[in-house]
Amino acid sequence: MSSKFLQIFGFAVAIIAIQIFTQITDSAFHLTQLTMTAYYSLLVIGLCMLIGYAGQISLGHAGFFAIGGYISAFLTTHNLTAMKGKPFIALCSKFGLLVGRKDLYGGDLLVFHPWAACIIAVCTVLIVAYVIGGPVLKLKGHYLAMATLGFGIIIYRIVLGTSGLGAADGISGVPGFTLLPGVTISGSGSGKILNYYVAWGILITGMTLLLNLISSRVGRALSAIHGAEDAAEAMGIPTANYKLKVFVLSAGFAAVAGILLTHYNGSIGPSEASVMKSVRYVAIVAIGGMTSIWGAVSMSLILNYFSLRGSFGTYDDAVFGVILILIMLFAPDGLIRAQVLVDLKSFFKRITSKEAAL
């Protein structure tokens, strides 16, 4: 228990140290990518919970991310001024769900408040995940992978093909999201440091929730389902229900990540829903060691950061594909674990002894 909080505390210190380092070295522009990394990591830890702990794969999590982001973007940018008279819009306005603001050219905009949009987006994703998860989670292994992959592709084609969602351009001009008075998630220059801390603060909160869950009765039950589903069922664990709940939970993490990143970037495009994004998230969970929230977060931090900095150039997607293949072949338990050093040692020993034998 205490070691868990010590780890989280240490992680928070590292986050602060990184910010101070960028301050000293006058490289605060890195904070933009680091902030985006935090939001992607939020999705990754939710997926880690699903894949690593409950043993259920999803190749459609970019879909949930995109649904959250797109709904929030649409509701906070779609001008309702012309529909003011409609009873539903009037009702929304009465409950304070709408806000008026000026667009770039001084015209009046009437849109949903980001909080209202956020709640609608999260609820929609949870409902979609529940409806999809029910039938899909009856499948196992690669059948489940294919079904979730299909879901991801459908979402991608929908956002790409819907002109109301900006088709290939996506939605831009998404306003900042004022979480609390004075705390606004947006990419505009002034709040860069604040946004960095908000993003990582939200991630650390999410991690704390999941780490608590893992060490609870439910976490144990999920590991049991992963290990031997029939035995878990025989011990009174409602396996179908638990799998569905953890699927919905991880979709919720993806939705929140999508919403917050969309407000931070001020835009969202169809590439966020692409299958390669889903593969990337799975690759990060795999290289982090599957059953390790810490492994997933540290790998997400490193890989997403370099990817966002453009270090992989045009090979971006290929890099993640290659990583996934290499990990599955040579280190199926991931890289972030003590055993890796031992494995490497024995690997080199084998090579050197072979050479000696020659």
Binding site: L213, R217, V218, A221, A224, G227, A228, A232, M235, P238
Partner: protein, 255 residues
């Protein structure tokens, strides 16, 4: 003597095979009942029907005043029925302690939200789960193995862990599917003593077993199946001298 489990006219067909055919029997609370029969007699099918892994085509299963036929296994388990498996099914990558703690699932409540928020109620519940698991490990002499990965243990020890996991459910009825398979003679004798001790704590036991020595030793009653049909249901001595049972096991006299 109260009846804990009563099975009435239970049938199950797999394609052309009538695996269980109109079987009826009762298990008295606080007794040990054995289920025997040649290979393919339908013993495991009957076990799976009772524990909810498969649904019967017809018939009624009454378990402590609930009709449980057609319920999912976890629903049956929550009514107070725990089982072990013919091929040991422990949870890999989990310690002996954690495996046994899983057995406390039906006696604890914390859900997803309580687990994520780690509210004080869940701490005290977790403490109780741990205490009970240690109690079970003490009963089975597994204390020294608490933190060892369960699937790394020897076969006999794994059997005991699986038994401990079932006992942690504090079941009314314990279903044991061939618990002596793969054990040597002295281990089998120990197992027999252990099953009797479990019965003495008030748990009713229904056991599928091939080891006749063990079955005759510990059972209060024996149910004999052949080709899915019940051919005998009596005390051990009577079953031993039952001509039909002898025929099934040793073949007809004039054969």
């Amino acid at each position: 003597m109260t009846t804990l489990l009563s099975v009435v006219n239970l049938s199950k067909r797999f394609g052309g095979l009538q695996a269980v055919n109109e079987v009826s029997f009762t298990v008295t609370a606080g007794s040990i009942k054995a289920l025997i029969g040649p290979n393919g007699a339908g013993k495991t099918t009957l076990f799976n029907l009772i524990s909810g892994v498969i649904s019967p085509d017809s018939g009624v299963i009454n378990f402590s005043d609930h009709q449980v036929q057609g319920l999912r296994p976890h629903q049956v388990a929550s009514k107070g029925m725990a089982r072990t498996f013919q091929h040991i099914r422990l949870f890999p990558k989990m310690s002996v302690l954690e495996n046994i703690m899983i057995g406390r699932h039906i006696h604890s409540r914390a859900g997803f939200v309580a687990g994520m928020l780690s509210i004080p109620h869940t701490w005290s519940e977790e403490k109780k789960i741990r205490e009970k698991a240690h109690e079970i490990m003490a009963f089975l002499d597994l204390e020294s193995l608490a933190d060892v990965e369960a699937t790394s243990l020897s076969y006999g020890q794994q059997r005991n862990v699986e038994l401990g996991r079932a006992l942690a459910c504090e079941p009314k009825l314990l279903l044991l599917d061939e618990p002596a398979a793969g054990l040597n003679m002295s281990e089998t004798t120990e197992l027999g003593a252990l099953i009797s001790r479990i019965r003495d704590t008030g748990i009713t036991v229904l056991i599928v077993e091939h080891d006749m020595g063990l079955v005759m030793d510990i059972s209060d009653e024996i149910l004999v199946l052949s080709y899915g049909k019940k051919i005998a249901d009596d005390v051990p001595l009577a079953v031993q001298s039952n001509s039909e049972v002898i025929n099934v096991y040793l073949g007809e006299d004039d054969a």
